[in-house]
Point group: C2
Chain length 432, copies 2
């Protein structure tokens, strides 16, 4: 513990987020001191890239290349971890906690993969682990679960928590672009990485969903428990059909709990235009939460960027500082219930949109209906579209009533074996 | 202070909210105990209406008709005030605080009118005053200001915080209803009171805005400082023009701060359809906040009803109980800055929509333009519509560039004096 009236801060990483947080801490020092009730002092910053240190205007003695200079410094009360990635962040966080330092992190991957471990280490050492910045940038999400929504049993989360994919889908929908064109434009604008896989395959969203679902349901949800599917197989015509039917296509991260059984999945969905979530466009994020008392609430804002992420990190820092200042040891009160189970994807139940390329011949629809009915999947509506007379082909689009995922997969296998079917072009799950 | 391990609760009022809170406290007793770290026990309920007491299944000895039975009971740590209205709620709250009891209230009117007084009484007596339930039902709004957004300087709030009016406006917009028809339907569904003035004239929204603006800007904002205008003069054609121009009409509560000067107003606005806020329909509420770090965030949910309001009250109760249990005296840290000033309405600057009934004759538009230009108001677009040849009348609709409210009022006075103008049918401010 540092001097009375001073809270010492160590920062792991001086990239975009780390330098952003440092700048704001220095610029708003006086306001933060008055809010925290004590001075917040940056003691040491870990950064191995000497070019970043050279480019900084800060006193060079603040920087170190050895993490032990931070972990062993008794003047440091709070460690801000903004390295990103699983290793060595995981090891650094556990060590910091075990040395009695509070940790504030913006690193979704490490938090998603090590949540129970960090929680246990924090509880053991009487310190806190704070992670508001891991999901949804500066949008208050973690704190509401810990406090405002505490009186509720949470039954469902529906989240747009990846700005890259939401930007791409918005462009595809509003300008009828194909996936590759929209991706390239996103890359040009810096909204997508040169290697975009983590985002477009739903991996990033799965990390964030693991954190939110763990917190909402008090259950151990690992990223590997989460079914994920990306957006690259969506075609311009899927958006056209969606709009005609009253839907938008969004990459949703969904978590639901029913009697201790938890459903967690990330995939594109047809989302009813009646829902506010369907109007969340561009790089914005939103999380819709359903609680037994509060009903449906939604939180919306920018999900990324140095300033919004710093807003969340600094809220956590000020919160911890206020408590350290008052001598309150507030270790996390969250306790995970090991009895809660993640439901296999095959057991979920939802409606489906199905687009097929078929031979243009009478009786095709009867064969498709029978293949579905054999697996107890019922059709709610059919839109037969665009016969291509020259190719003797027809595009058939239909929506089902709620059906079991396993049954639907079997029905699709049956359909693809039909001699009248050229291919199943796409299928997309529906959320009303 | 009550027994160790028990937090005593007194409830002022056993109406819809009071009985709802009581039911949930009893039903979820075990979960709340584990969250609060102690048992929450209802000690006494104030209710003067004996029919309500008779209708209750609770032990009749819980009820009292004398407020002193609650204020003087040393077993009561937290007083929940759900009486509504200014008096006697104001006196009861101050007395409870002065007797060292924490107060949780859902009463927007009393909070809006007595915020600084309650804050001072709480700080003087080392207790807290909590009011999450006063605005936006169960939507977390107060806590984010106190914690999550603490690192931000807040520059603007744009709020839909009256469900009754938002329901009426949604019906008027989607079904081209006139105001009176939509109001009657809202009354039939229980979304509007038999005497709807508080809602439709923007008074209820002004109470809530006073609370949010006080908190966001650390300034003393009284309801009487807030300019308010209702929705009854909106016509079906205003919605038609709004939609054509890319806007929705909403009753917005707006607060902005620039260099210590604060703008607070409640009135119908043209709201750009590009904003998520414009998609908030029906009885739902939403608050959009702009901060220097976080950018634009929005919170959405049901703004009224026993369950959502109870969700907010109980979150406050559990929060206070956790702190009482730990022996932490967390008095409010909010300090109001007396130097901050509310800007007179005449000094605001915005764009305007103007609809006029004119004589159908050449040169009318030139006269209108000149009247506006004489007050330095410029027209951004004109839609001359619907000449009614039989009446030799024309409806003229125009939008202005940003102009000063005082100048605009003067310009409208000039216009209404023009011999070619039959009436100014409506004018509505614009938020892009």
């Amino acid at each position: 513990m540092g001097k009375v009236g001073v809270i010492g801060i160590g920062i792991l990483g001086y990239g975009v987020i780390g330098s952003g947080v440092t700048d704001i801490l220095l610029k708003k020092a006086r306001a933060f001191s008055s809010q925290a009730g004590c001075r917040l002092e940056i003691i040491r910053i870990l950064e191995k890239d000497t070019s970043k240190i050279k480019a900084s205007k800060l006193d060079k003695s603040l920087f170190t290349q050895k993490v032990s200079d931070i972990l062993n410094d008794k003047k440091i009360d709070i460690v801000i971890e903004v390295l990103g990635g699983e290793h060595p962040a995981a090891e650094f966080i556990v060590k910091a906690l075990s040395k009695g330092k509070h940790v504030v992190t913006s690193n979704k991957e490490v938090m998603a993969k090590h949540f129970p471990e960090f929680l246990a280490a924090a509880q053991e050492n009487g310190v806190d682990i704070m992670y508001e910045a891991t999901v949804g940038g500066g949008i208050p999400l973690i704190a509401p679960f810990k406090q405002d929504l505490l009186a509720n049993n949470i039954s469902a989360l529906h989240c747009i928590i990846n700005g890259t994919t939401n930007y791409i889908l918005t462009r595809m929908s509003s300008e009828q672009l194909d996936f590759n064109t929209a991706l390239k434009q996103a890359q040009k604008l810096g909204y997508a990485e040169p290697d975009p896989r983590n985002d477009i395959e739903g991996i990033d969203a799965a990390y964030k969903l693991a954190i939110l679902a763990t917190l909402a349901f008090h259950a151990e949800i690992k990223p590997r428990d989460i079914y994920h599917e990306g957006i690259s197989r969506l075609a311009a015509c899927d958006f056209r059909y969606a709009n005609e039917l009253g839907y938008e296509i969004k990459l949703l991260a969904i978590a639901k709990e029913q009697k201790g059984s938890i459903e967690v999945r990330v995939h594109p969905v047809f989302l009813s235009q009646d829902l506010l979530l369907a109007s969340v466009d561009g790089v914005y994020n939103a999380v819709q939460i359903e609680g037994d008392l509060v009903g449906r609430v939604l939180f919306y804002g920018r999900g990324a960027g140095a300033a919004p992420t710093s807003s969340a990190i600094l809220a956590d820092v000020i919160d911890v500082a206020q408590r350290v200042k008052r001598g309150i040891s507030l270790t996390p009160t969250l306790h995970l219930d090991p009895r809660k189970r993640v439901k296999p994807m095959s057991e979920i139940k939802t409606r489906y949109y199905l687009r097929m390329n078929a031979v243009d011949r009478p009786g095709v629809l009867a064969k498709i209906s029978k293949a579905l009915a054999d697996e107890e999947v019922s059709i709610s509506s059919v839109i037969q579209k665009e016969s291509d007379l020259s190719k003797k082909a027809a595009e058939i689009v239909l929506m089902t009533y709620p059906a079991n995922e396993r049954a639907m997969q079997k029905a699709m296998a049956r359909i693809s074996r039909l001699d009248v079917i050229k291919e199943i072009s796409n299928f997309i799950r529906v959320e009303d």
